[in-house]
């Protein structure tokens, strides 16, 4: 076989040197310990559909990928989709830092002395995120918001040993709920749902009825899945604490430019999606699971995931970093670990650190405001369309809200198809998770949806509804 550019010793000359050292005549001798009945025949392997069977050139590979991706539909604007992953502009600097091979191609920093830069970057992520959330401790990342929520629920069961109930709002992101259900499947735990008021936010009296001494945690998502701002977060946290339960909050970090930090609202654990902070939507991955806690020893001992701590060199002269509290982790504690997580989303965390550094406190506030403005501009424009309802609930929203089309006499699926024909991708259909909302869809607007984009959407919808 020809030598390959990624495999430097794949030349006859190098192979000969190695085989001489080993005293073998054929490479096959190194595989003799695989029992014959399990060996796959050379021909059989060669003819399996794996790539194009033979190595191909980089250009050929690129052409194949390029031609395939050209099958994706080109849209006139970026989709008006949110629901946990949002399109936010990624500054060029973020991508260029991520492309640096020293970060990109490195492993988990097991050898601290040669990885001090990587550890500092991760420590900075933990510290910047802590400031944004106003929480004390942030881990070095989870996979995404959904899995972070699952882990937070499991953690609450360890902290509140013996309690078997977790309260969630009806307006918890249904995808995150599905993930949490999977994480809880082996455990005898009930997820109890609390409904919403006419404001679209958690019904507090219902929460008070349902909470009891069995409750390990109360979860609150702010803004909630339908986009509404949970005005009474503090009160909800107090109710949780009064019953000895943990108060877990889920957040959309961009909203924290305007909304109160969860640390100020009494949260014990905070989870969230870091993707809006410098990561592309990328069809849903890689994302960045945020996981934060109050500085409490009991919580810290049960926290999942990797943590980087600031320390010094042994001689005490220089600042340095180390992975800390590894005795919680799987490689030390094995089956008694707080989680099985090993590979996380470190590079995504670094992207967020770069992003938060670039934006700073003022940039973040402005960004939140622009998101708010664009969504509220869209709400005003959409509400002017005949039969389109944008105020199903009366609460305040941040940058997404449900739009109901029942009075247009059209099914949302048909509206969606017609919009797509015009190169516009509308919001998330809500009928599956929220049948009570009828023919509704959740529309999201960020700084990337400019006034022109929103006007295009409104014009297209008008055409569709009149057509």
């Amino acid at each position: 076989m020809n030598p390959h550019p990624w495999i430097p010793n794949s030349t006859d000359e190098y192979c000969k040197v190695i085989m001489e050292e080993l005293g073998i005549r054929s490479i096959d001798e190194l595989f003799q310990d695989i029992p014959g009945k399990f060996r796959i025949k050379r021909d059989e392997w060669d003819n399996l559909e794996i790539g194009f069977k033979e190595p191909i050139s980089e250009y050929e590979a690129w052409r194949f990928i390029d031609e395939s991706l050209s099958m994706n539909k080109k849209l006139k604007t970026i989709p008006f989709l949110g629901g946990g992953v949002y399109p936010h502009y990624v500054p060029a600097v973020v991508k260029h830092i991520l492309m640096r091979g020293e970060f990109l191609t490195s492993y988990t920093p097991y050898q601290a002395e040669i990885s001090v830069g990587l550890m500092q970057a991760l420590f900075e992520y933990q510290s910047l995120m802590a400031e944004l959330l106003d929480m004390d401790i942030v881990n070095a990342s989870m996979y995404d918001w959904g899995s972070a929520t699952g882990e937070a629920f499991l953690m609450s069961l360890r902290v509140k040993r013996g309690r078997r109930k977790i309260i969630i709002p009806h307006t918890m992101n249904p995808f995150h709920r599905r993930v949490a259900e999977t994480y809880l499947y082996p455990h005898d735990v009930s997820l109890v749902e609390v409904g919403v008021t006419e404001k679209g936010t958690v019904n507090i009296s219902e929460l008070e009825e349902k909470i009891d001494g069995e409750t390990a945690a109360v979860y609150l998502q702010n803004p909630n899945f339908l986009g509404f701002i949970e005005e009474y977060a503090v009160e909800i946290g107090e109710i949780a604490h009064k019953h000895g339960a943990l108060f877990i909050m889920g957040v959309y970090p961009i909203s924290l430019g305007l909304l109160e930090a969860p640390g100020k609202l009494g949260a014990d654990i905070v989870v969230g999606e870091g993707q809006p902070l410098g990561l592309y939507p990328s069809f849903g991955g890689p994302l960045l699971g945020i996981f934060a806690i109050r500085n409490d020893r009991k919580l810290l001992r049960q926290m999942p995931g990797r943590l980087i701590g600031l320390t010094t060199t042994k001689d005490g002269k220089e600042r340095a970093f180390a992975m800390i509290l590894q005795t919680r982790e799987q490689h030390i504690r094995r089956e008694k670990a707080t989680s099985n997580i090993c590979t996380n989303e470190a590079l995504s965390a670094i992207a967020s650190a770069v992003y938060l550094s670039l934006l700073g406190p003022d940039g973040l506030k402005k960004l939140a405001e622009t998101n708010y403005y664009h969504a509220h501009y869209a709400e005003k424009k959409l509400s002017s369309l005949e039969g389109v309802e944008t105020r199903i609930y009366s609460g305040e929203f941040f940058n997404e809200f449900p739009v109901r089309f029942d009075h247009t006499g059209r099914e949302y699926y048909e509206i969606h198809r017609r919009l797509l024909e015009k190169g516009i991708h509308g919001g998330i259909y809500l009928g599956n998770s929220y049948p009570e909302l009828g023919e509704s869809a959740l529309y999201a607007f960020t700084e990337m949806h400019t006034r022109r984009d929103i006007d295009l959407l409104v014009e297209a919808l008008k055409d569709v509804l009149n057509g």
Binding site: K53, F103, S106, E124, Y185, L256, E260, E335, T343, E345
Partner: protein, 523 residues
């Protein structure tokens, strides 16, 4: 043709302040788009209830774009990846990450796709993912794959939850309580089994490195829900008793789980499916060339044999897989997403999967094909055994377990003799390697080898570098036997010297964030 030269290495040392200590009032790093006049006029102000309004801005730094770029560039210069030199971390498969993979994964036709977009708008991406599912099934000899899990351990959890659901649907969950793992297993295996609600039972390895089958027989029972193993094992040895093990586990209706961490050692020679495994995960970021990114993101697809779970209801193991499977409708030439269905364990993350690493891995397999992948395995195995043969001759080092057996993807070297005779430990050896500009092997793992140096060069390493690495280990050995005190000063050529881990972990000084550090130092 080859020459061994002694490496001179100096890592950058910037004494770089934290980002919080850089910059000044009023500086900005990025201009954020603002709403125009007309938008402001129509919206007429921001109306957020007072009690939920942010009162104090977050204490983020105020830095210019220039400062951000310099700061993080300097931090990269105090880091070390495969692009800098060999990273022979055993079981981590730190191979070269072909840059064409980046070009594909970061193509704007992928990066700007929202996960909930209409299938009709993402046909190109779905085609690539469909092919990847098929190729991974062929590589592993399994029937059906999900690309959903985000990492190896996430794949393990998936596999264990599928195992749980399998027994659940067969109405035997009240009996099936135990997962067996060998004592040489990765820590994630017992942790994943435990997260899925199982009790973990450990089984020892024999002196030949294989699982001790007699010991296995004593722990296998009606309670056995399954067995998790890597093959080749973390010792780099092919599990020769796999046929007997497979029969034992299946005889009590347990499922056989394949940890794909070490797949790089067998491609083109055997497949988990051929060996009788029911479930397997694959680490795209190990075997298929996507980068580790300083700890992640990775991707951990899970493939299964589509065996029958429940005859009456005609449920198959593939129906239990989580996430979304890409299917192809030949009649309409259309790709679509299926799942999670009625019997699926559900979702383990919110959306499809880690597209970036998956597309990088797709590109890797696309360019190599079946034949290229066999070449990968052959060259990785040649490199391992070449290193093993060379290191055996260095004083103080040995290769325990199955001493004369060929290794596969990796070899575990023991520095036990060196430690006993000189006091120089595996940790000191690791630090001595850093000083020569090499990353260290995985140390003190697997737990069954004393003073372990678990070494995996992969197919990416040059013969010259392996020679230099051995030469450096020979120098370390010489220093250990002549001047062991010297070894405890290592490393001296890296950005910083040895780290105070006690201070890092002590409750009084522990500082997991800048704000806690400030709080503690103010007191």
């Amino acid at each position: 043709m080859r020459g061994v030269c002694i490496v001179v290495f100096r890592q950058a040392k910037w004494s770089e302040p934290l980002i919080f200590e850089i910059g000044g009032d009023g500086r900005i790093g990025h201009i954020v788009p603002e709403p125009g006049e007309e938008v402001r006029r129509i919206v007429d102000g921001i109306n957020i209830p007072e009690k939920i309004k942010r009162k104090k801005p977050p204490r983020l730094p105020r830095v210019s774009e220039v400062e951000v770029v310099r700061h993080y560039t300097r931090l990269t210069q105090m880091s070390y990846g495969v692009d800098n030199g060999p990273v022979p971390l055993g079981s981590c498969t730190m191979k070269y990450n072909p840059r064409i993979g980046f070009e594909a994964a970061y193509d704007p036709r992928i990066t700007w796709l929202h996960p909930l977009q209409d299938e009709d708008t993402v046909q190109g991406l779905l085609k690539l993912l469909y092919l990847l599912q098929k190729w991974l099934a062929n590589i592993t000899g399994m029937d059906k794959c999900t690309l959903h899990p985000a990492a190896g351990a996430h794949g393990e959890l998936t596999g264990m939850l599928v195992t749980r659901k399998y027994h659940d649907l067969r109405g035997q969950l009240n009996v099936k309580k135990e997962i067996i793992v060998p004592d040489s297993a990765h820590g994630t295996n017992p942790a994943s089994a435990s997260m899925a609600g199982f009790t973990v039972v450990e089984v020892p390895s024999g002196s030949d490195g294989n699982i001790d089958v007699e010991a296995l027989k004593t722990v296998v029972s009606e309670k056995t829900a399954g067995l998790m193993i890597t093959n080749p094992s973390t010792l780099g040895l092919f599990e020769e008793n796999i046929a007997e093990i497979e029969e034992l586990i299946h005889s009590v209706d347990g499922l056989l789980y394949y940890d794909g961490a070490n797949l790089n050692g067998i491609m083109g020679y055997t497949r988990p499916g051929d060996m009788g495994f029911d479930i397997a995960h694959i680490n795209i970021h190990k075997t298929f060339g996507s980068p580790h990114g300083g700890g992640g993101p990775g991707a951990g697809p899970v493939c299964v044999k589509d065996r029958v779970v429940n005859e009456d209801k005609s449920i198959r193991l593939g129906d239990l897989l989580p996430g979304y499977i890409v299917e192809y409708d030949e009649d309409n030439d259309k790709y679509y997403l299926l799942g999670p269905g009625k019997h699926s364990i559900g979702l383990l993350k919110a959306f499809f999967g880690n597209i970036g690493p998956l597309i990088w891995g797709f590109t890797y397999i696309l360019m190599l094909g079946a034949k290229g992948l066999r070449l990968v395995t052959e060259q990785a195995v040649l490199n391992t055994n070449y290193f093993a043969s060379k290191i055996r001759k260095v004083k103080g080092f040995s290769i325990p377990y199955g001493e004369n057996r060929p290794r596969k993807h990796e070899v575990v070297v023991s520095a036990e003799k060196l430690y006993e005779e000189t006091g120089v430990s595996a940790l000191d050896v690791a630090k001595g390697l850093l000083d020569a500009g090499f990353y260290a092997p995985t140390i003190y793992f697997p737990l069954i080898v004393r003073e372990a140096l678990m070494t995996e060069f992969t197919e990416s390493e040059t013969l010259e570098n392996i020679d230099k690495y051995v030469e450096r280990l020979r120098e370390i050995s010489e220093t250990a036997y002549t001047n062991p005190e010297e070894a405890r000063k290592w490393p001296i050529n890296t950005s910083v010297g040895r780290i105070d881990e006690v201070k890092a972990n002590h409750p009084k000084t522990m500082a997991p964030t800048w704000r806690i550090y400030l709080e503690k130092t103010r007191k």
